[in-house]
Assembly symmetry: C2
């Protein structure tokens, strides 16, 4: 399997980090302001990405496949970029001292294409946005996300 993996440490209890990943309001605070749907097992969450001028540049649907409070969130992508279909995003949490460690994986890429390299960088940027949201109350979700290249 070809996977993206990242590790980030957030100075907050695991339950607080979990809520930022497991709820619509949380996701909207670090990934994209346009997050909707229902974050319950078997239900679908929809994330949409826009330019600062409001033009949609992409979207994904994800089925929530794991919600283990304070420990794990998992999504299976069911619509969006062709390369993402049937891949899974997993967030595993554990506490170490003052930190909650997030082990993030985006699992099951079919090929290590250039778009995967873009997504790997961009997930890193969004993990820092998640860290900022939980530690300071304010993340940098799309459309105010940090741009990394000519794709976004």
């Amino acid at each position: 399997m070809i996977n993206i993996i990242h590790r980030v440490g957030i100075k907050a209890p695991a339950q607080k980090v979990y809520e930022a990943i497991a709820t619509i309001e949380g996701i909207a605070g670090w990934w994209t302001e346009s997050t909707s749907g229902v974050s319950e097992i078997g239900k679908t969450v929809v994330v949409r990405f826009h330019t600062l001028e409001g033009n949609e540049i992409g979207s994904m649907n994800m089925e929530v496949t794991a919600l283990d409070p304070g420990k794990k969130v998992q999504w299976k992508f069911t619509a969006g970029p062709e390369e993402w279909i049937n891949t899974n995003a997993v967030f595993e949490l554990h506490e170490e001292g003052d930190y909650t460690i997030v082990l993030f994986s985006h699992l099951g890429w079919r090929e290590a294409v250039e778009f995967m390299a873009h997504c790997s960088m961009k997930w890193g940027i969004f993990m820092m946005s998640l860290k900022q949201l939980v530690e300071t109350g304010k993340g940098k979700p799309s459309p105010n996300d940090i741009k990394i290249d000519n794709w976004n």
Copy 2:
């Protein structure tokens, strides 16, 4: 093979990006201030990492294995963390409009361990530092690098 891959776009000519990766002065501007050695094919570059108080927290030696001006730089790690020995870092450059695209790979991890997930995030942070260095003249090399977790 288990690899880290990232894509970053830098608003500058490829030759300028290349110089930031292919020279000791360049590397010291985005990765770690403590960069020494000789950046020539077959020679060794040494990077050392310190805390803000000046305590060394790690170092790597890398043999320069490719230097293709404006196009490619490759390093083979010959000393440092055990997991890095004999892995390779590759920077492939090409221009797209106003951007130079850097396709970065850290190739040949033996296992997708937690330390690899940390390094993947951290390489993303350093790619943004490289982008800032080339675009603005000032990156964020160690020891003033952005910290991502309880390891660094």
